[in-house]
């Protein structure tokens, strides 16, 4: 479904991605782990067409999007749902309007139908009846759930999550993971998720990839990564301060 080939990106001469290769199959949840500041968000932004690669190729559903722009790129984006790191809720709109917004702007559905779908999504993320609130009035965990509801309301084929649980308490982390698994079972989307939640992510991912020093050091089924002999991966998932990983 998604193939990244030898993706390179530098900012002001500082290389962030030094040749990333990644393959995500249809319907699977791929979780990308890696150090903070290691370029995970930068990688996602390339998949979203928000950043341009210096070199390499990105193919989504058979379409090479590396150099794509305008309407052709938007056609691919209409198949996406995106949960940004900070939620990126529109703070000029209520929670309900945030969730209803993609339906209003992108579909020809009637008012009643839009309200029904948006409320159903809010219900699914456990926020039924919170629609009238403003994003500023709700907690961080609720904002992330609203962002998930907004990303999924158009029933996208491919969903990107950028650290959907960072900074939340353990109960909420598992709640949101459970939510993602449930919604995945229901809608069978392909997911690319950036997360630091170790070991919880191994329970929900089909595949895990570790980004380190601008490259994917290893990618594969969750158990394979968990039991990988690679010292970088072992150090990272144990959170060991000693080892081959150097701080950046």
């Amino acid at each position: 479904m998604i193939r990244v080939e030898n993706l390179r990106k530098s900012f002001g001469g500082q290389p962030v991605l030094k040749g990333v290769n990644l393959e995500v199959n249809r319907g699977e949840i791929m979780i990308v782990i890696g150090q903070s500041g290691g370029g995970k968000t930068v990688l996602l932004k390339h998949l979203l067409g928000l950043l341009r690669a210096d070199a390499g190729r990105i193919v989504v559903a058979g379409v090479d999007i590396t150099e794509l722009r305008g309407e052709a790129l938007d056609a691919v984006r209409r198949r996406y749902g995106v949960v940004f790191q900070g939620g990126a809720l529109f703070d000029s709109m209520s929670v309900f309007d945030n969730v209803a917004f993609p339906l209003r702007e992108r579909t020809a559905l009637g008012r009643a139908e839009i309200a029904e779908r948006a409320n159903a999504k809010l219900e699914q993320v456990g926020l039924g009846g919170m629609g009238e609130k403003n994003p500023a009035e709700i907690s961080g965990g609720m904002r992330k759930r609203v962002a998930i509801a907004r990303a999924l309301v158009t029933e996208p084929e491919i969903v990107f999550f950028d650290e959907p649980t960072t900074g939340l308490d353990p109960v909420l982390v598992n709640t949101i993971h459970g939510l993602i698994v449930d919604l995945h079972a229901k809608f069978a989307f392909t997911a690319v998720m950036v997360s630091h939640e170790i070991p919880e992510i191994f329970k929900i991912a089909q595949k895990v990839a570790m980004l380190y020093d601008g490259r994917i050091v290893e990618a594969g089924p969750a158990e394979a990564i968990q039991n990988s002999p690679n010292p970088v991966i072992q150090q990272f998932i144990r959170g060991d301060p000693e080892g081959p990983i150097h701080l950046r």
Partner: protein
Amino acid sequence: MTTWAARPVDLVALVGRAALSLVASLGRFGTFFASAVAYAVTPPFKMRQLVGRIHFIGYNSLVIIVLTGAFTGMVLGLQVFITLSRFGSEAFLGPAVALSLIRELGPVLAALMVTGRAGSALTAEIGIMRITEQIDALTVMALNPFRYLVVPSIVAGIITFPLMTSIFDVVGIFGGYLVGVKLLGLSQGTYFGEMKSFVDLGDVTTGVWKSLSFGVLVTWVCTYKGYHVGHGAEGVARATTQAVVLCSVLILVWDYFLGSVLK
């Protein structure tokens, strides 16, 4: 300075780099406006956003426009009366106040006030949307942020600035009336009557052209500065300051230019 004197080549390189970066940013600034115009004249039009922006720019600036308009008119009434009375021509107070307001002070001061009240807020709002990835969110929804944020603001500027300016003018003329007629004892007939015979349509058109172009200028600068904001809260603060300073300077420069072209 000594190092520059020692290496004149460095000075040339420095000036060259500064010039290049100036040309590049002017280019970005121009391209920004060109895209805004292109999206403004092709559907779909975002009416809901436009109404929101008119409220944001116009309605929110109403109080400050009325307040500053009234005091500007009153100050004019007083000062011009004092000046004219030295030549014994107090009778021309009406047209003097009206002409200064309609041709010059109305468009310029109204634009400066709206810049301070709404322009800065516009930059801050769009800048915050940028740094909190709300603009990216629009983009990946395959919705064009220009259509949702930039075009409605500029069109709202074109609609509201002339309105704000006319309110400023009317309130100002009334302020001059309060001082000249009610306080200093000029007759009401003289104040308004002379106005009718000395202010013509050309003066009004000049004012309207000025306010229209200020509307474009202010919203263009403010949306541009917000859209291309730097990093973090500091970036938003800097962009907001730059937007207000740049708008204020450009308003005065452009006012002089238009004033000399529109006679």
